[in-house]
Structure formats: structure tokens, C-alpha cells
Assembly symmetry: C2
Homo-oligomer: 761 residues x 2
């Protein structure tokens, strides 16, 4: 039986970590090049570590505050007592991944430049396998944390003995006397689900803070360096250039990694919780099988992602297309292998064919969204070329056309996600049994993220290649080296764009699964309220329990007490016409816009400080522009770091406080409305921002290739305006929406006990 | 009893039309000025009429097609047989309002300029009272159409005799034998509701077509005339200048008028339908009172709006602030008088105090949204000034800051609408009885729109003042005249911005009421299906009927047949977790973005043709730039007209087809999801676009006043880029979303029979 295969999960996670270590060692053994290259790399490394240590300090304080709050809530009886500890491990492992990924990336950039000076294939290999370190630590630590908690909870807390006699923990009656197997699984998964809160909080700081950092440095470096002083990109005379290179790592390695770590753990944990809910009225043989299944799919995904990583090779005379192909062979190969393995699981009856269908839906949806993103943002296709053509008429038409392209581009991803949700729901049998269908949606998320080991490798590859280019430029390496790193960099831009589509797509599915799990949490808390013995409440709750899972089931119970039902109905009624739910829906839509506005403003302010600092250095440090004086790189890094951490506080607080407040004021219905409104509007808005930004970026590059007048023409100037507008769109506000969507859901899950307590008492 | 006061409704509508006629005659008697002024005015008039006649031709074809479809559906038994005729009257009266409003506005512009040459007060009066013609014909014809249909249906179709014996119409069994009073009211209001479809179709063409027209002409005139040829705004040498002036009328008079005509009729009709639904299980004395009440509130609003119009006066030495104050006295005065009158109605027990509360909620919400709009778009406040400051750093930061301001500005309107919905729902007793609460939301919409007679006057005043300025410029009137018209024009810009907030706010509430009415329509069609005698379906339907109105009620009926319930549940289940509803929600959010993208692209293409034409005329017509040759104004008007009508086809078809398709594929739940998603995302997106556009416009003007370098500085150039980007935001895409939101709902209402038939058979 599948339950006996659980050992595969921790083993796979360890395998991932071993290979990550192996790839890291191999990379470290290759040469870092000349002294100049080492020096530049050291600057970037120092900057990155300076950023991380400051971020972790701030995160530490926030974790401490949240820890206290969660502990107090636990002692008040409206929070599971394991949550404070689970919360910490989730945050710790996510932070560790960020640290290791950044360390690797900053060690790899000079080595990639050195590799590229030997051959293109060598450069690609160093960069890609260093990116794979990030991919593998994320999936490895993610699954390891899940395995550890599962073992601890099932082997030491919810034991047969405890379930017979009851079990107290920190003075709290944790395992009720006579608890049965299905109740146990519910409690275990509900506890584990909340460790995602730690990952979410970490992701918030990494993604939003990283997004602000990278664009503040970028815009600051460009505005003064390129535009005012007229020195080229990545010129060592520009004091902000190291901060700019650090920013690539901060945003695209640590930020993207933490974002996807959250999705990865969230999707597996939510699906496990939904699986546990399935077992409640189903006293079949293999109850824990439904809980372990998503972990097993993830474990298989890890192993086959590693196989895929080894498949990435290229020939020496590779052009842009064949470079992209070699990556596609890796990711596509993993996907096909995973599908085959999952089909095998279904053939062996470990999972149903319906679940196989759900996993396929998720994987295919991920691929389609990625391809659509490429179509709308690559200069090989009409939309981006159209923006470049409009650039001839000036910046205004460039902006209007880019906005139109971005807005229009939302249709394929939305239709794909809708198709993925309905297909996975239907395949899993949701039209006969709602709960099975929701479990299927969870598997779609797990399926989409099963290739994360290699997908994240292609993402993290981007900034490494970009930094390698910067290193080559600053170290005055021969032109052919820069050409090779440019080829790698261009490839990285493509994978970054598709990676963004993948990140928002998986965020949407993860949020869906988390929302369904939220309803399970609410039920658990309501059932605890039920034990209080209040029969009036009991009837209403019974209705709530069932109306939220399935329309028909709970109705018999409700008829007992129709009058009381009404009092509670608007608080829990998930009908779209419930004005409390509607209020949530509106507020959710608004949150997406306001959060974007705040992060955009934050970039503007942080970039402003950077501009001032760079101007100051140009004025005050003698010989800086002649190349005889050394700029104060560290000061610029410090400014970006400080700006990012300060500016992210307000939007972050909003994302945490609003779902709690909505829960207290508008109840469960309001929360579900808020989350759904945030999800649908946030998803669409994020795609608009990402794709508009990507298209502007590439439209500018398309002009720089010599089209419509090429570099220096009026069209190019208009293109630069578009690119600058697009920077915060695609690198700050757009990706931050992933976090908003998931964090609001996770906060609601963790605070569900409080919401229920406030409503009941 | 309130039923006996119905006569007030047609009388008020006739009073409105009489005063409209009076204001028109008064305006026509004042002098049109010099021959040159008359000539310019004639050009604009000809252009406006050329546009209207072409639009009405296209609209005529569309109406013919829809008429055939609706008639066929009626004969298939899935459409009320009166709908095709009702549809026509709705469209006809809306079109008539557009024609009269445009005619008045184009007659008034030269007279306003002439008036301004005498005194500022004279200019204000001519312009404002001409605007009042538009306001009064809209409310007059709207309420007249409603009164006529109500009389026809209740006095000639659903008579006591017919209800006893049955009544056939065109071979269809329209009035069933033994129909009771409450059924009759349901049928009457359901029939009337669909005449809104005619108004919606007309509004679609007027608002979307008008929005494309006005910006194509504006951008075309600016890009070639101002930027390339370097001649000032409104210069008669620019061939596109007449088209530009026509555009102001087309967009802001006819477009805004048709938009609000639709909201006005839609809100009254939807509230009446919800009132009729209330009477079904309530055999109290005064059943038709609930149907007539919203009409009566509207009628009182008309009379007191006229009083408000007479309150608008100004002193000769008026500055910008006192001009605005004189308008505020008019609109504020009307609001206060209306509130007093409605309070009187409540005191006389004609309506409940709860309904009074709902009306107050709507009125107050309208005022708050208007004030918030002013704060975020007026150069007297920080947000717009901040954009102007950012303009010093170039166009990119101008755009980013404007986007951030626009997105941020969504919070007050969203919170206000949420507050308005919950307050009106709660005041009307919705937390005890859901149906009463929804009826209250309808009254919030009616309340907000009760001041329409004067609010629309302040809107239509804007383009008249703008055109007066254009006329003064082209006719070389003395500088002081232009200064006076400029003062009026600036006032018009403010009222235009608040008017847009008012339009989207009322669209949101109207759509809410329409959606609730949609569920009533679905019930009526389901009941017809019920008569087929299929008991299996009957049970499912019974559940649907009640779950949509109130959680508790229908449950007893469902228990009978739990098995069949499941088959239908996902099709009708309005729980937010129903994946079909969720699909609709996502698609609705996407529709808002895609619709915006399409209208933006449309402006780009239409403006492109205009640019080509103006360039051609500058090259081919000799002496045109020296002022000796006459430009071919008509050609430019024709190009804008043709472009607008062509470009709007695709987005329009989308708005009509998508709700029908979603209904057929995803059922009632999918439709409700689509409408709610479209509403929440569309509302927020529209506010973002309107306010960003308005803020850019005024930031540019703020710079032109001499701030940050004034006219000609780099900041000014950046400001112009922002303004140009904002043009399609605020005048095309943003306002078009009002139409999208309402039209999708109206199409769903009219096609509800088809949706049900497709699901049942």
C-alpha cells in the first residue's frame, strides 16, 4: 500500500540536497578567473550577504513578534499549540534556501564568465548547474520539512496510545481521548498546513523586499549613470553598479526561490489536508494514503527533475534557439518522465486515474501559461514588435500600446487556469463529489510544481548569467566572452519571463487549494466550538459544515433549527449574493490594486535615495568618472537594502492585517470573498503587469538590434521610457501579487481559530 | 395609498420634458454672435450630425438583427413576446435623448462664447441650462418610457378580466388563467426590465463609439497639429480641429447621456422587479406599492432637480472656486431637498424608514465617490502635484507615479460602494430577510441617480464650455472672452471627473440590482419549466429558487430528492466554491482587462488614420498652413466617425456573446460569477483608469501654470506624455467599462430564458 512507501519522500528530499551539494562542489572547483574578476565577484558577494543579513535581522524581529502572538493565541485556545514551532521551521528552511541559493549564485557568476571564456557549453553548464542548486535546495528542504513534521506528529504525538488515553501538551488537551484515525489525520494536516505561514512570511520579505531592492538599484544606476553621466551599463565607475548586480540575485534568486518555496510547500500541505478531509466519512482501508499521495508525487518529481538537469547540454556552435532548446529538453524531459511515473502510480492503483488526470491538467496548464508568456513578451512575435513600431511615434504611444498588449495578454492564462481548475476538479470526480474535486485541484497545483527542481534552476540561471556578463564587462574580458555571456543572458531573460508566468500560475492553484483547506480549518474550529455543547450553535454549524463542501449533504440536519440558521447564515453563507461575501470580493479586488500602487511608490522613493547618493559620489569622490577614484559601492548597497526593508513594511502589514480584520468584521464569508477577489483580480493584474513589463523590455532590445532606427534613435528613446516604466511592473509589483494572493490566504488559514472564536462568543 | 399616486410619475416626466423645451427655447433666443462664430458652430453641428446619422445607421442594423433574434426566441417560447417591442422603445428613447442633447450642445457653444463676451454669469447660464436640456430629456424620456409600459401592461394586458380567463398574444398563452396579482406584477416587471436592453445597446454604441471617436480626433489633432506643425490647440488651420470639437460632444454629451440613461432606467426597473418579487409570498394589501415606490422616488428627484437647476447662479467677479460653489449649491440643494421629500414619504408610511436609509446610503455614496475623485485628480491636492513633481525626472517616472496614484485611488470608492451596499442592505432589513435587503440595494442605486437631472447637466456643461472656448479661439474673439470660457472649461473638467466617478458608482449599484433581478428572471423561467410537469426537475428547481434568495427557506423541499439535486447543483449553486462559478469569476475579471485592451488599441488605430489624413491635407491642400487654403474638415470628421464605428464592433460583440456563451456552458452559476467578476474587477479598473487619466491631465495643467519650469520645460514635455497616455485611459477605456458591466448583466437578463431552456432540455 501507498502508506508503506512514505519513506520515498524523505529519501527523495535528501537526494535533492545531496545533488545540490554535489553541483555546488563541482562549481566551486572550477576557476574563478583573474584577480579582477574575483574582486568584482567579492563585491557582489559582500553586497548580497549584507542585504541578506539585514533582511534576516528584520525578518527575525517580525518572526519574534508573530511567534509571541501565535503563542498567546495558542494559550487562549484559538490556535494549535504546534503552530508557533511549525511556523519557525517553515521560515527557517525558506531562509536557509535563500542563503544557500544566493551564496551559490554569487560564487558562480565569475566562474560562469571564466567558463564562457573557455567555451559556451562550459559557461552554460556552470551557470545552469549553479541555478540547479537553488532549485534543489528549495524542493529538498521543503519536502524534508514536510516529512519531518509528518513523522513527528504521527509517530510521537498522535500515537495509538495517545489516541486511546488522550495527550496533553503544554497543559493543553491536544489529543482527545478516543480520537479515531480520520480525526487524527485532520489534526495532523491542519497543524502542518500552518507551517506554511513561516514560509509565507519569509517569502513576503524576500519577494517584495527583493523586488523593491532590485529596481531601486537598477533605476538609480540607470538614471544617473547611463542617462546623466553617459557611461555604459555595468561600468565599474558607477557606484550603483554593484548594487544593481546584487539586485539581480536578491530579486530573481532569493525572491523567486522563496516565492516558489511557499507555493511548493503550500500546495503539498493543502492537498494533504484536503486528502485528510476526504477520509472523515470514509472508513476505508488506506486512510493515510490520501494524505501521503501528494508528497509522493512531489518526491517522484524531485528525482526526475534531477534526471532532467543532467539532460541539459549544448553544442559549442549553439545559437539562441538551440540554447533555448537545450533547456527545453531538460524541463520537457522531466515533465514527460514525471507523467509516465504518475501514470505508473495510477496503473498500480496507488492513486486513481482521476488524480492522474488532475496532475496532467496542472502540468499542461503550467506549460501553456509559459508559452503564452513567451508569445506576448518575446521580440520574435507580433505583440512586442508592435510596441517597437509604436515607439516611432514617441513615448506616449509606446506606453499605450504596451498597456494594451499587457491587458490583452491576460486572456490565455485566465482561460488556461479556468480550464485547469475545471479539468482537475472534473477528472477527480468533483461533479459527483465536491470534496474529491477540490482534492483534484490541489493535485493540479502539486503537478504544476512537480518539476520545480529544474524549473527553478532555469530561473536562477538568469541572474547568474546576467552577473557573469556584468563581471566580464567590469573585468574587461575579451569581446567574445561578453558575446557568449550575452547569449546566456538573453536566454535567462526568456526563462525569467516564462518563470514569472509559472510562478503566478502555481500561486493561483496553490491559493485555490489553500482556500479549500481554509474551509476545512474552519470546520475543525467550529467542531471544537460544537464541543462546548451549545445546541443552537450546533445546528447552524452543521449546516455550514456541509454547505461549504457539498450542497446536498447537510440539509437534513439544518431543518431541525431553521430559525437560528438565519442568524448565522450571512456570516457563513458562501452564496455570491451574501453582501458580506460581496464586500470581501470588492475589497479583494481593491487590495490587488492598492498593493501594486504601494510597491510602485516604494520603488520610486527608494530609487530617489539611490539617485541622490550616486550624484553625491560623482560630485564628492575625486577622479571617480576618470576611473582613478574608487566609488563607495557598499554605501549604495546599504541604501538599497535599507530602502527595501523600510518601504516594504506598510504593504506587508496591510497584507497581514486586512484578512484578519475582514474575518473579524465580515466573518468567514467575507474572508472567502476577499481571497477570491484578491485571487481573480490579482492573478489577472499580475499577468498584465508582468507581460507589459516584459514586452517593453524586449521591444527596447528589438529596437537596439537595429530596427526602427536602432540605438540612439527617437524610437529607442521612447523604448527606454517603456522599459523603465516596465521595470517596477514586471520585477516589483507583478511578482509581489503572487505573495499577496498566497499570504492573505495563509494568514486566514492560521487565524481561522480567531475568526471562529470571535464569531461564536 | 401609494398606488394611487402613480400619476405623479408620468406627470414628473412630462414636467422634465417641458422644462427641457423651455431651456432649449431660451438658449436658442440668445445671440449666436458674429458670422465667423456661426460658421464655426455650423461646422461642428454638421460634424456632430454626420456622426450621429452614421451611428444611428449602424445601430439600426444591429437593432434589426437583435430584433429578429429576440422575435425568433419569443416564438421558440424562451423569450417574453413583448421584449422585441420593449427593446425597440428603450433604444429609441435613448437615441432620441442623444440626438436632442447633441443638437442643444452644438447650438449652445457659440451662444455660450457670445454670452461670455457679455458677462461670465451670462456664459455660465447659457452653458449650464443647455446642459440641463440633456439632463432633463434623459430623466424625462426614461421615466416616460417606464410609465407608458407600466400603464400598457397593467391596464391592457394583465387586466382582471384577462387574469380570470387567460389572454393570448400573437398566438402565445401570455396571461395564464387564474393568474393572481403577485404573479401579474412579476410578469409585468420582468417584461419591462428587458426594455433596458435597448437602452444598453444604444449606450454601448454611444459610449464606446463616442470614446473612440473623441480620442482618435484629439490625439490625431494633437500629434500632427500641435507637435509636428507647431500650431496651437483649436487652430482653424488644423483639419482635425472640428473633429476634435465634435468629439467632445460625441463623447461627453451623447456618450455620457446614453450611459446614464441606461443606469437610470436599469436601476428603476430592477428595483421594481425586486419589489414585485417581494410580493410573491406576501399577500398584504398594497402589492403594487413596492413596484411603484422606486418610480415615485425618481419622479420626486426630477422635480427637485429642476429646482436645483434654477439655484445655479454666479456673481460677475467669480473665481474658479466660487464658480464651482455655484454648481455645488445646485447639486447639493437638490440632494438635500430630495432627502427631505423621501423622509416625508417615509413619515407618511408610503415607504419604510429602511428604504429611506437605503436611498440615503446611495446618495451619500455618490457624493463621497465624487469628492474622492476630485481629491485624486485635482491639482489642488497632493497626488496630482506629486505627479507633476515626478515629471521633472522625465516621462517614465511621470507614468509610474500616475499609475501608482490611479491604483491607490481605488480604495475610497471601493470602500464606499461596499459600505453603500451593506448599509442599504442592512437598513432595508436584509439581515433578517434577504429579499428585502436586495430591494434596498436597488433603492441605493435609485437614490444615487435621483439627482441625475442636475448631475447630468453639470456633466454636459463641460463640453459646451470647451466648445465655446474652441469657437472663441477660432473666431478670434478678444482675449478676455477666452479667459472667461477657460474658467468655464476648467470648471467643466472638474465636473467631468466627478461625473465619471458618479457614472461608475451608479453603474456598479445598477448592475448589482440587475443581477438580483436576473435571479428573479431565472426563477420565472424555471417555474415555466416546472409547469412542464417534470417532478425530478421540479425538486432541484425548488432548491435553486430558494437557495438563491435565502439560505434557509427552500431546504425542506430539497430533502425530497437529494439524488437529483446533485446533478443540478453545480449548475445553479451560487457557492463561491462551485468551480463553474469560479470559472465565471475569473473570466469576468479577464473580460474587464481584455475589453480595455481592445478599446485602447482601437483608439490607437483610429488615431493613426487621422494622423495620416491630417498629414495628407497639410501636404496636398495649398496654403493651408498659411491660412489661405481651407482644410477639409468634413473628411476628418468622416474618418473619426468611420473609425469609431468599425473599431467598436469587436469589443461590443465580445460583451454580448461572452455572457450568452458562459450561460450555455457554465450555467446560471457561471453567469453570476462572470457578472460579479466583471463588476468587482471592472469597477476597480475603471476607477484606476479614470483617476490616473484625470491626474495626468491636471498635472500637465499644473505645470503649465508655471510650476516646475512651466510650459516648454522638460517637466512639461513629460507631463504631455502623461496626459496623452491618460487620454484613452479616462475618456475611452475607463468609461467603456461602465457599459461592459451593465451590458453583460442586461444581456444575461434578456437571455435568461435561453440559459434555462438549454440547461433543462
Amino acid at each position: 500500500m501507498i502508506t508503506q512507501l512514505f519513506w520515498i519522500v524523505p529519501v527523495a528530499s535528501v537526494v535533492a540536497l545531496v545533488f545540490a551539494w554535489f553541483f555546488f562542489r563541482t562549481m566551486m572547483k572550477s576557476s574563478e578567473g583573474t584577480d579582477k574578476m574575483k574582486e568584482i565577484a567579492q563585491y557582489v558577494r559582500d553586497g548580497a550577504m549584507a542585504y541578506l543579513s539585514r533582511q534576516y535581522k528584520v525578518v527575525g524581529i517580525v518572526f519574534l513578534v508573530l511567534l509571541v502572538i501565535l503563542t498567546v493565541l495558542a494559550y487562549m485556545g484559538v490556535q494549535n499549540p504546534f503552530v508557533p514551532i511549525a511556523f519557525l521551521t517553515g521560515g527557517f528552511f525558506s531562509g536557509l534556501c535563500g542563503f544557500l541559493g544566493m551564496k551559490t549564485a554569487t560564487f558562480a557568476s565569475a566562474r560562469t564568465a571564466q567558463g564562457a571564456s573557455e567555451s559556451l557549453n562550459k559557461g552554460l553548464k556552470v551557470a545552469f548547474r549553479s541555478g540547479a542548486v537553488m532549485g534543489l535546495v528549495v524542493v529538498g528542504f521543503g519536502l524534508l520539512d514536510i516529512s519531518l513534521w509528518y513523522v513527528i506528529l504521527t509517530k510521537f504525538v498522535y500515537t495509538t496510545e495517545h489516541m486511546a488515553n488522550g495527550f496533553q501538551f503544554l497543559g493543553l488537551d491536544l489529543v482527545h481521548q478516543g480520537m479515531d484515525e480520520s480525526q487524527k489525520l485532520l489534526e495532523v494536516t491542519a497543524t502542518m498546513l500552518t507551517f506554511g505561514m513561516g514560509a509565507s512570511t519569509q517569502a513576503l520579505f524576500a519577494r517584495v523586499g527583493g523586488g523593491i531592492y532590485t529596481k531601486a538599484a537598477d533605476v538609480g544606476a540607470d538614471l544617473v549613470g547611463k542617462v546623466e553621466a553617459g557611461i555604459p551599463e555595468d561600468d565599474p565607475r558607477n557606484p550603483a553598479t554593484i548594487a544593481d548586480n546584487v539586485g539581480d540575485n536578491v530579486g530573481d534568486v532569493a525572491g523567486m526561490g522563496a516565492d516558489l518555496y511557499e507555493s511548493y510547500c503550500g500546495s503539498i500541505l493543502a492537498t494533504a489536508a484536503l486528502g485528510a478531509a476526504l477520509t472523515v466519512n470514509n472508513t476505508g482501508a488506506d486512510m493515510s494514503g490520501k494524505v501521503i499521495a501528494p508528497m509522493l508525487v512531489a518526491a517522484i518529481g524531485i528525482v526526475l527533475s534531477i534526471v532532467g538537469i543532467f539532460m541539459v547540454q549544448t553544442k559549442e556552435d549553439a545559437n539562441a534557439k538551440s540554447l533555448l532548446n537545450s533547456l527545453l529538453i531538460g524541463t520537457g524531459g522531466s515533465s514527460v518522465l514525471i507523467l509516465a511515473a504518475i501514470a505508473g502510480m495510477a496503473a498500480l492503483d496507488w492513486i486513481t486515474w482521476g488524480i492522474f488526470g488532475a496532475v496532467v491538467s496542472g502540468l499542461v496548464a503550467g506549460v501553456i501559461i509559459g508559452q503564452a508568456t513567451e508569445y506576448y513578451t518575446s521580440d520574435g512575435y507580433k505583440p512586442t514588435q508592435g510596441i517597437a513600431r509604436q515607439a516611432q511615434q514617441g513615448p506616449a504611444t509606446t506606453i499605450i500600446d504596451g498597456v494594451a498588449v499587457g491587458m490583452y495578454s491576460t486572456w490565455i492564462p485566465v482561460v488556461t487556469i479556468v480550464g485547469g481548475i475545471i479539468a482537475s476538479f472534473g477528472f477527480a470526480g468533483g461533479f459527483d463529489n465536491f470534496a474529491e474535486g477540490v482534492y483534484g485541484i490541489g493535485f493540479a497545483a502539486v503537478g504544476m510544481l512537480s518539476t520545480l527542481g529544474i524549473t527553478l534552476a532555469t530561473d536562477a540561471f538568469g541572474p547568474i548569467a546576467d552577473n557573469a556578463g556584468g563581471n566580464a564587462e567590469m573585468s574587461n574580458l575579451p569581446k567574445e566572452v561578453r558575446e557568449r555571456t550575452d547569449a546566456l543572458d538573453m536566454l535567462g531573460n526568456t526563462t525569467a519571463a516564462t518563470g514569472k508566468g509559472f510562478a503566478i500560475g502555481s500561486a493561483a492553484l496553490t491559493a485555490m487549494a489553500l482556500m479549500a483547506a481554509y474551509m476545512e480549518e474552519i470546520k475543525i474550529w467550529l467542531k471544537r466550538g460544537l464541543n462546548e455543547g451549545d445546541t443552537v450553535v450546533q445546528n447552524s454549524i452543521q449546516f455550514v459544515l456541509d454547505s461549504s463542501t457539498q450542497v446536498g449533504e447537510g440539509i437534513k440536519a439544518v431543518v431541525i433549527s431553521e430559525a437560528t440558521l438565519k442568524d448565522f447564515s450571512s456570516f457563513y453563507d458562501l452564496s455570491l449574493f451574501n453582501p458580506l461575501l460581496l464586500a470581501g470580493l470588492f475589497i479583494g479586488a481593491m487590495m490587488a490594486f492598492v498593493f501594486c500602487a504601494m510597491t510602485m511608490k516604494a520603488v520610486g522613493r527608494a530609487a530617489g535615495s539611490m539617485v541622490d547618493e550616486v550624484r553625491r559620489q560623482f560630485k564628492e569622490i575625486p577622479g571617480i568618472l576618470e576611473g582613478t577614484g574608487t566609488p563607495d559601492y557598499a554605501k549604495c548597497v546599504a541604501i538599497s537594502t535599507k530602502g527595501a526593508q523600510q518601504e516594504m513594511l506598510l504593504p506587508s502589514l496591510l497584507a497581514i492585517i486586512v484578512p484578519i480584520a475582514v474575518g473579524l468584521v465580515f466573518g468567514v464569508a467575507g474572508v472567502i470573498g476577499l481571497l477570491m477577489g484578491g485571487l481573480t483580480t490579482g492573478f489577472t493584474l499580475a499577468i498584465f503587469l508582468n507581460n507589459a513589463g516584459g514586452a517593453w523590455d524586449n521591444a527596447k532590445k528589438f529596437i537596439e538590434k537595429g530596427n526602427y532606427g536602432g540605438k540612439g534613435s527617437d524610437a529607442h528613446k521612447a523604448g527606454v521610457v517603456g522599459d523603465t516604466v516596465g521595470d517596477p511592473f514586471k520585477d516589483t509589483s507583478g511578482p509581489s501579487l503572487n505573495i499577496l494572493i498566497k499570504l492573505m490566504t495563509m494568514v486566514s488559514v492560521v487565524m481561522s481559530g480567531l475568526t471562529v472564536a470571535f464569531a461564536l462568543f
